[in-house]
């Protein structure tokens, strides 16, 4: 018992995600944790590695008509349609609250055009309390006929570069898994100047209501999240870790510390939990304490011993 406590003092689980300093590696994923406030009764939000806030656009968005969500086998589909109050409202009302509560904040931004992404980054610049920017590139580019930014290496390169030019904050594109070659997209991000990569966003899917014979979601397609996508996320992070040197924020289907360990072992520097929070609002805290316990039990002194461990022969 005494020995364990001594070890626990030595274990350091703080980490650095391409310049984003995290007290611990467990973050709350964008769109699943609102602006932090909603979960205040359940968890000390200042102790979360980072709260990645709801995707924010230049102008407010009303979002998609309902139904917006439907549960599927070990997962759920969502088509929220980026409902958000716009960047001004975020900066004026939500950010001050998070700052007062000492929350490590990563802003998640989305746009219709490269110029919009750059404009939002510019507006965030200089506002204290934002530790980094996550770029949601799973959005249609209206100037390119609605092709998703995240599916085209050239567009990924350009959007990362444009944002980097407008901000001094670390920039972390969030890769869409709906691509043929994820490594190509990761390389394009690196070339554009990304400081880290966030992997993965939801997988596009759909469900049909057999009674009405119609797609269940009003938007027809939705993003699949939850345990169902974990193997895909792990595979993609494993591939990217071998080819690209950027630190990775890994997530997709994490619901306990064993899942979190798998992500670290395939190469994630930090992890994010989303859908899992809906089931257990204290999941971030729980993973941190179980992770510490695991490290004690297995004589692991630092996270770096775990990151990428699955790649060693």
């Amino acid at each position: 018992m005494k020995k364990e406590m001594e070890i626990s003092r030595e274990i350091d689980i703080s980490t650095d995600l391409g310049g984003i300093k995290l007290n611990n590696p467990v973050c709350a994923a964008s769109g699943t944790f609102g602006y932090g406030r909603e979960y205040e009764p359940y968890v000390d939000i200042s102790k979360i590695g980072a709260v990645i806030v709801k995707g924010t656009t230049l102008e407010p968005r009303a979002g998609n008509p309902p139904p917006r969500i439907i549960e599927t086998a070990s997962g759920m589909l969502n088509a929220i349609g980026l409902e958000n109050p716009g960047i001004n409202e975020f900066l004026n009302t939500h950010l001050p609250y998070l700052r007062e509560n000492n929350v490590t904040v990563i802003a998640n931004i989305a746009g219709n055009t490269i110029e919009e992404y750059a404009a939002i980054a510019e507006m965030i610049e200089g506002n204290p309390g934002v530790a980094g920017i996550e770029l949601n590139i799973s959005c249609p580019n209206v100037k390119q006929g609605g092709l998703q930014f995240g599916t085209d290496p050239q567009m990924v390169y350009e959007v990362v570069k444009a944002v980097k030019e407008k901000t001094t904050l670390p920039v972390m594109p969030k890769l869409s898994p709906n691509v043929t070659d994820i490594v190509e997209i990761a390389r394009a991000s690196e070339a554009g100047g990304a400081d880290a990569l966030s992997m993965i966003n939801t997988l596009m899917g759909m469900a049909v209501d057999i009674n009405t014979r119609k797609p269940f979601l009003a938007n027809i397609f939705g993003g699949l999240s939850g345990p169902a996508i974990k193997p895909v996320a792990l595979r993609m992070i494993y591939q990217v870790y071998r080819e690209v040197k950027l630190p990775i924020l890994g997530g997709g289907g994490i619901v306990n510390y064993r899942d979190a360990l798998e992500f670290l072992m395939v190469g994630a520097t930090a992890i994010s939990v989303g859908t899992g929070i809906f089931i257990n609002p204290q999941l971030t805290e729980e993973i941190v304490s179980n992770l510490l316990h695991y490290m004690q039990e297995n004589n692991v002194a630092s996270l770096s011993e775990l990151v990428g461990a699955a790649h060693q022969a």
Partner: protein
């Protein structure tokens, strides 16, 4: 403040072919419960089903620190819930949402419930009764077997009038027909309703015609239950530009704010 707890199940009874009453001890949650709020419960420990399920607060015993739910088996989650036994624990979050707005003084109240929609109206009746209100309840179901709240409502001291489609108890036909035939609007100060939307739409019309304050409890698929995921969005009126979150802004709304599906 709402919380998350492991509730110790002290009773779990099948009350008819497909409905169950589940009572668990969770003092911190029980203490906070307001009528019309809901509990977000996780059926089973595994990923299937994955998400919590919202169930209305059916009754509360603050002295005992217990909360009772009334649920109907409709799918995977509710079916799995039936296997929970007494002395086992249920994973519960709550109380969540905005409940019914209570009158400031004793009033003459009408409660209109359809099917399992009676659930939130029972705890409401208990609280209103304690406030000295005069309460009439109309409950519409298929058959007398579904009039599961009858005992509780009578014991609370309400005037209870059932309507069954098969005529096995009370009025034979729709509860809304009973409403229009039986209830004298002049003798009412306020109405609360929960049930199928076409039923609530008739209640809304009745309330509007007679200028009676009324509230409805709505349903929408939910994930987080706390206003974080924006999954439970609904436009209260067709021409509204903004969506409300049923879990956080509701589930209870003023009937005048809502266009109900007919």
């Amino acid at each position: 403040m709402p919380g998350m707890q492991q509730g110790l199940v002290i009773s779990h009874n099948q009350v008819n072919r497909d409905m169950f009453e589940l009572e668990f001890i969770a003092p911190e949650i029980a203490e906070e419960c307001q009528p019309g709020q809901f509990i977000h419960i996780k059926p089973g420990l595994r990923d299937q089903p994955l998400l919590r399920r919202p169930l209305s607060i059916y009754d509360v015993d603050k002295r005992l620190g217990s909360v009772t739910l009334l649920y109907k088996v409709v799918g995977t989650g509710t079916r799995l819930l039936t296997s929970v036994r007494t002395k086992e624990y249920v994973d519960v979050m709550g109380p969540l949402g905005r409940g019914f707005k209570l009158p400031d003084q004793p009033e003459r109240i009408l409660l209109v419930g359809g099917g399992v929609g009676i659930a939130p109206l029972v705890y409401l009746a208990r609280v209103l009764e304690e406030q000295g209100c005069d309460i009439t309840v109309l409950h519409g179901t298929e058959s007398r077997r579904q009039l599961v709240a009858f005992e509780k409502l009578r014991q609370i001291g309400t005037d209870f009038f059932p309507a069954t489609m098969d005529g096995t108890a009370g009025y034979k036909g729709l509860v809304t027909e009973l409403l229009l035939k039986k209830i004298e609007p002049k003798k009412l100060d306020r109405i609360y309703t929960c049930g199928p939307e076409p039923m609530m739409a008739v209640v809304a019309e009745f309330a509007a015609n007679h200028n009676i304050e009324a509230e409805v409890s709505l349903e929408e698929y939910m994930a987080c239950g706390v206003g974080a995921c924006l999954g439970c969005a609904r436009k209260l009126k067709t021409n509204d530009t903004q969506y409300v979150k049923v879990c956080k802004d509701g589930p209870v709304f003023n009937i005048k704010e809502v266009e109900l599906y007919k």
